[in-house]
Subunit: 509 residues, 2 copies
């Protein structure tokens, strides 16, 4: 190792940290590693005089100020869900710079999330990085993604207050900063509803983010394995392997279906010792799949019961670490509790000093503008039509969010092209047609190659509704073509194929 | 929803919890969901009289006692690494029952672990569930996998003391239990060496388990994103994006290579704003890849330097949350610190009252038996030949572990076939040839379609050594055929292909 042996003998000009940058593959490569390395060592030695900012006491300052004449106008998007991501995808980046603020750097393909809990799909297959949805964010000098939470909106000064996220010890403490906007799109989504029931937040797992699905999977596999260990009583085995799902909407039903499919196909084979103890109970206060056609609901009830899901009508009163208590006093012990009883406005949305729609969402007009607040728009689950529009608040569906994102991207592009992209301008631009929502139908899978497809435009309307294998096939194909990138389309297809051929994966990582 | 409407009107015989078992797909399916469901509700009501075991105060008792006449003899395997898994794969389950005790339910395909940190491979692709390696564990009534840690060995009474693992709140507290063995195979592996350096365990990340790779990935992506946020000083950007690897063995070199490849190919494109700040430094006290041929080492040094890895010779004295201090006083600020300076005996192995090999590993003879302890064998990184064999302790390599596992499976099968499978029997069986290790060569990848393959049988020996693209191709093919299951072979190939076509995945989940 001539390189190392000559290291100490070399003398080189003292250089200050940081050492020479990583060479670009196009730049000339250093041909004398001996020199460059000893040079680095020297630079390391000299570094000790520098003062590194301690992660405990960072001195952060710096905002992203208002855009100047030489820059493009800036669209700030709060959130990276269906609404925000579809908007960013559609924004014309030759007109605007895009800045996205979100605590996660990817969009979650929520309709497929339930499948990841039991290993039918990989977690990575349902997550789409924001930088792949809108490549300008990674490349353009004025476009950014900030891994941060929005803490407030200062509409008077056209700026938002943000705070970075942290990730436990050894990561920097969070700090605050401001971003000035020309146009602001609020797409903050909604929060899982707990109806103030004690213990839900502490003991139940929601099913809205990838980390929720990961936690469900880890818990499920842990319980399966612990019930096999000597010293577990029969009663505790029953408890550990009782999976309770609260909420009979599409998410709850799909998760129950996937879970019973997993039990039928995989647990029986791979955890033969405990297969007779595992069961799934779905608790719903009213009707399951209330938005679907009567015939489809009956079909779903039949299918779920057939595959071993116990359907129970009840209202949860209290959640304890190992059991839930229903309003009639029944105690239901559980090992895994998944909570999906719908969503409502988040505490941040509630706290914002903006016009509101009935129900507490951010109020918008028919062009998705927040009335009387210049340059501020709201889309997706966090927004709803104000009463004066005479329109009902739209349901919290991916479909609505995606359509609003697409519409607003077009509207902002039109405004920008007409020269109204800057803050406090564009009032005179013709906005064109208002946003009109047309329901394309609903889908839900039940596991075991069965699904429901309801193509009616409203609950009362007429139209096609399908159930069974054909629906399952349509469901899979529809999702496959809607997953945003080709990479993920490919991965989802590969995952489905592998699960069919080899069964689900059961490694607990 | 007739099902729900009739629910309260129904009356049914009171049933006790648990409700009827999940019906098997082959059994008759209930045709009257109304009845079965209300029956369930009744059973739920009646359950409240039962007392569920609280997770805080479980009353665990029960051991896996000695095998009786009607049972097969029991082989207990401690650990699920290369050695233990290869052994289980080879055990003849018509002769023995197999019980595996390990805190993880999968084997990690360690040579590919470095690739998962930067998204070249998925985490799942390098994990192989124990139940897939030896299917009897999931199916046979006397074979088990216990998610537990071994806490001690009571060789006199032919049993091991175990304790279950826990996973934070809402999971059962750990409890202890005993397993009696007929034959015991200790394959507990080794622990990362920290040389007693202060702060290593707190601030550095090792690269030995899937969760380590996950943590490295999360940290790396967090730092990449935080450095882009307004308010980060130039100095802190440099610190956050300085990845320091300590240890120039194959793991350290492979990780550095993958990381610089990730920076060259993906960070430049996807994190364009911060691309000039990220750098990789590899610190090694002696020579990098000391087990490889001189020419290969020179080649590796050249390739790593070319791809921007800074090679530094130094000894780490102290590790702080944001910087390491070298023995010459140099302070090196870091945002990510990966530690791979080799392995040594774990504290459990050290504490076991068994014969030891030079260096503290569990002593074994040439048939991998622990001398003077009947029916106890040790294989893999936790074991070493006792001095009296006159043989050197073998290196801590997957290759050695795998070969020992294979050999011992054959030996145990031979003993079992000759009727010596029970505890305290088999002493008279002819053991055949002792275990002889023949080194097949070493491989290491350097990133960017380059790898080293050293086919010499020893450091001083003669033989073929290759470097460059051909080696990279051999490396990939060799690993592809060695990943145990077809499922994972398929996934690794798909992952590699996707990375080539679409680049690496950068979602932080």
């Amino acid at each position: 190792m001539a390189w190392f042996r000559t290291l100490t003998r070399m003398s080189a000009t003292a250089k200050s940290w940081p050492p020479p940058l990583l060479p670009s593959p196009l730049r000339t490569v250093p041909t004398a590693p001996v020199a460059s390395a000893s040079l680095l060592l020297t630079s390391l030695r000299n570094f000790s005089t520098g003062t590194a900012a301690s992660p405990a006491s960072p001195t952060h300052c710096g905002d992203l100020g208002p855009t100047g004449g030489g820059e493009k106008p800036r669209v700030v998007v709060l959130g990276s869900g269906w609404a925000g991501c579809r908007l960013m995808k559609g924004i014309d980046t030759s007109i605007y710079d895009v800045v996205c603020v979100s605590p996660r750097n990817h969009m979650v393909f929520t309709p497929l999330l339930a499948s990841t809990c039991v290993g039918t799909l990989e977690f990575r297959s349902v997550a789409e990085p924001v930088g792949r949805i809108q490549p300008a964010i990674s490349r353009e000098p004025g476009s950014y993604f900030f891994l941060s939470n929005c803490k407030g909106i200062d509409a008077k000064n056209h700026r938002v207050i943000c705070e970075t996220v942290t990730d436990g010890p050894n990561t920097p403490d969070p700090w605050k900063f401001n971003i000035s906007y020309d146009k602001l799109v609020i797409a903050l989504g909604a929060e899982a509803l707990t109806f103030g029931i004690h213990g839900v937040k502490e003991h139940a797992i929601f099913l809205r983010e990838v980390h929720h699905a990961q936690e469900i999977r880890r818990r499920l596999l842990l319980n399966l394995m612990l019930s096999d260990v000597p010293g577990t009583t029969e009663q505790e085995k029953s408890r550990l392997l009782h999976c309770v799902v609260v909420g009979g909407g599409p998410t709850g039903v799909e998760f129950s279906g996937e879970l019973s499919d997993f039990i039928m196909r995989d647990v029986r084979q791979r955890h033969a010792h405990v297969k007779d103890y595992i069961r799934v109970t779905l608790i719903e206060a009213n009707e399951i799949l209330s938005s679907f056609d009567d015939r489809l609901r009956r079909y779903a009830t039949r299918q779920l019961t057939k595959s071993g899901v116990h359907l129970v009508r009840g209202i949860v009163k209290d959640v304890e670490p190992d059991k839930i208590v229903l309003d009639n006093g029944t105690e239901v012990p559980y090992g895994l509790l998944v909570w999906s009883t719908g969503v409502g406005p988040s505490s941040l949305v509630k706290s914002l000093d903006l016009p509101k729609a009935p129900g507490g969402r951010i109020g918008i007009d028919e062009w998705l503008r927040v009335p009387n607040v210049p340059d501020v728009y709201a889309i997706g689950d966090c927004s709803g039509f104000v009463e004066s529009t005479g329109k009902p608040v739209l349901p919290a569906l991916a479909q609505v969010a995606e359509r609003q994102g697409k519409y607003l991207a077009g509207l902002l592009n039109r405004i920008g092209k007409a020269g109204g992209g800057r803050a406090n301008s564009g009032a005179e631009v013709d906005l064109g047609d208002p946003f009109v929502y047309k329901h394309l139908g609903s889908m839900a899978t039940l596991g075991r190659y069965k699904a429901l497809v309801d193509l009616r435009q409203s609950k009362e309307g007429k139209g096609i509704s399908l159930a069974g294998f054909l629906s399952w096939f349509i469901w899979r194909s529809a999702y496959l073509t809607r997953v945003i990138s080709w990479r993920n389309r490919f991965y989802v297809a590969v995952n489905w194929l592998t699960t069919m051929v080899f069964g689900r994966d059961i490694s607990r990582i």
